[in-house]
């Protein structure tokens, strides 16, 4: 393991730059250091204007996603030592496919709108709502959606998704996984309402199933799996609409049976 490494960091300020450029910084490599520690070292000691987001430093708040040598990564969970061989460099850029506000900070307002479109809240028919106490849910029922509830909204999957790159309107992997998290929840009755958004070409059918989202997910949420489940359920619903006399069978909400 080398004891120093050069970091090439994308810099961009809309107040002074027409386009991003790279600046190089040599940083010490310590065994415990993650890429984020090196960024903090630069900001504290070399250039206080280096701009990036971070908070928890334990891989759960979702703030510090960046491209590290071309791969979307949580920089608080990516160790310097894994790059510090043979005079390698580390190239750090903002997450791909997002507008850049400054340096390594992306604009995620569009992503936040997409999350809301998935209607990520528990829906019940108005005559079927508890106002006190709790719904019952067995551990097996919990297991059916638990994986999809693990998303930390870090947006790495959007930076990995080629469809997001081509079509910014595509609702994208995390939002689709979140919709499926509620659709698969035994307490939820809102799948039909979510389908209105998600059966749209910008929704689930936009996905060409490249599977990159699942590969880069730091929390093993498997958005690609969620999208596939959703497509199958939607097709089944559509097929059923031909065999059930009054159209959709109310009990066959996507993914909920």
């Amino acid at each position: 393991m080398a004891d120093k490494i050069v970091m090439e960091i994308a810099r961009y300020s809309p107040e002074s730059d027409h386009e991003p450029h790279f600046e190089s910084y040599e940083v010490p490599v310590k065994r415990e250091w993650v890429v984020l520690d090196a960024l903090n070292h630069i900001k504290d000691n070399v250039d206080g204007s280096l701009t990036y987001r971070w908070s928890c430093r334990m891989g759960i708040c979702g703030s510090c996603g960046m491209m590290v040598n071309g791969e979307p990564k949580l920089t608080c969970a990516t160790f310097l030592s894994s790059y510090a061989r043979n005079g390698n460099k580390i190239r750090v850029e903002p997450l791909r496919y997002f507008p850049v506000i400054r340096d390594l900070v992306t604009e995620i307002g569009g992503f936040m709108e997409k999350l809301k479109k998935a209607k990520p809240w528990l829906m019940r028919a108005s005559n079927d709502q508890l106002t006190e106490g709790t719904y019952l849910q067995t551990p097996e029922q919990l297991d059916r959606y638990k994986q999809f509830s693990m998303c930390i909204n870090c947006t790495l999957c959007y930076a990995a998704c080629p469809v997001t790159g081509l079509d910014p309107v595509f609702i994208g992997p995390a939002a689709l996984a979140l919709a499926q998290r509620y659709n698969m929840d035994s307490r939820d009755q809102g799948a039909a309402e979510r389908t209105a958004t998600l059966a749209h070409p910008e929704g689930v059918w936009g996905c060409t199933f490249v599977g990159e989202c699942t590969r880069v997910c730091p929390k093993h949420v498997d958005p690609a799996g969620a999208i596939q489940q959703y497509k199958i359920a939607a097709v089944m619903d559509w097929l059923k609409s031909f065999v059930t006399p009054r159209g959709r069978d109310a009990g066959s909400q996507a993914g909920n049976d």
Partner: protein, 606 residues
Amino acid sequence: MATSPLQPWGESVEASSHDVLLIGGGAAGLRAAIAAAEVNPKLNIAVVSKVYPMRSHTVSAEGGAAGVAKPDDSLDEHAYDTISGGDWLSDQDAVEAFVAEAPQELAQLERWGCPWNREPDGHIAVRAFGGMKKMRTWFAADKTGFHMLHTLFQTTLKYQPISRYDEWFVTKLLVDDGVVRGVVAIELMSGRIQAILAKAVILCTGGCGRVFPFTTNANIKSGDGMALAFRAGAPLKDMEFVQYHPTGLPFTGILITEAARAEGGYMLNKDGYRYLQDYNLGKPEPKPVLRCMELGPRDRLSQAFVHEHHKGRTMETPYGPVVHLDLRHLGEKLINAKLPFVRELCQKYQSIDPVRELIPVRPVVHYMMGGVSTDINGATPLHGLYAAGEVACVSLNGANRLGSNSLPECLVFGNRAGKAAAEFASSHGLGNGAVMAQAADEESRLKSEFLHKTGGRERIATIRTEMQSTVEQSVGIYREEASLRAGLHKMMELQERYQDITLDDRSHTFNTELESALELGFMLDVAQSMVASAMHRTESRGAHQRTDFAMRNDEKFLAHSLLYRNFDGSARVEYSPVTITRWPPGERVYGQHAQHPDAKAVQRVS
């Protein structure tokens, strides 16, 4: 967002206005926002946060949330555990309200979709926790805070009256004639400085662990709300009470949840000996016993670590002395089912697998018992200003918080503060021109002291590092007069040097260096308040241990310290009595034979 630029006073500052304004979008802030929206759907409610709400530090909470849930438990037992855990400094009316409402709040989270762990029959599962005599801690694996925060955030999206200012940094509370009328904030993306006026403001900014060098707290935990309130004239209560959690990973300070011990983990010294048996915490048994040994309270466990260290029975690492947390006997299956995040964090950050290896741990700053003084509805002494969650001191946690009481505290007192603020806002108006003049002054200050300043010499990181080591040396696990006095002097020096800081970054767009400078200013005020409060409390109680005053002194200090800022910028300490309802001060006893006065309590929850 209801931003209607108002400039009737000829000032340069723009303004928007709301009925209720939340500062902070973690569990307390989001719960308060929903509560306010439900009190009066016509209210215009906004959440200002320096991060997107789902990044808030609630996300890092792991172990669980306490609320009586099973027939063998009672509200009185939860109350007694909380009061004795807090070494009788808790206000017992707040505790009684808390234990009664916590189960309802946790059930409400369930109805909003929180994925709580379940019994095989579908009912809520609970686990043991430190200092709790019954199993009453609801949990979502070991990512309870993460699931609670995302459930709350996702639920707020369906409430139309709730708008957000994401990534806005609040620099000042606007106060006119003793009434809080809003804030001045910087929109990080543009650098725009704006007044956000409101009829009621609720601080939900969380804690201040970053004033210490070694903490579980996220980078954003810089005590902003405490300093904002203090500068505006509200008192800070019980700031000498800082919680060290006994099990943090060395170097990173990443928390290994108390649930690891609740599931049966052992604390071992360098000889492989379960050393807690030497510290009045009971006898070791193979299985966990409630309120015993590894399930003792956090203050006592962290203090025991210091004694083990002095006896030479800890292990040295490049990042300080450690002991071991042993989970190996729990087995891979249980660890994967109940403690998956612990395993993930150990593998990722410590390169060890707790299924087969010992986890090195040491005490780490985790939680601030003190905060902005409030009543049991979250109201501060300043009209129109409320506070809830870690930023506030109700006081529920007294001299030492029990693990798994802080998440439900955010819900119970977030709900109460949200309702109280909504009612206040329904019967009060907005401020007048005086607050806009203040906002213009604040904008000038931000420009002259930071963005346009010339000639500063001090780097932010230098002052921050010196502050952190000063705080650790003066208000660490054990304190004494000489180091506290030295700490106060050093803090005054740092306050002076802070006036001489310089920024590399003078741009408007997403200026995180300006943000860091302002956070450092907040932290200096908070750190100073801790040292001052600790110096005046010449007794030992809970997490405040004075080597020069080793005993609890109820005659003099069964009282909350209240630190006020004087008009000239100096501070003064006053004391107010603790509210005792049904549990007179007693001895804190842990271990198998400890009597629990409410063990046969009749109040049951089905």
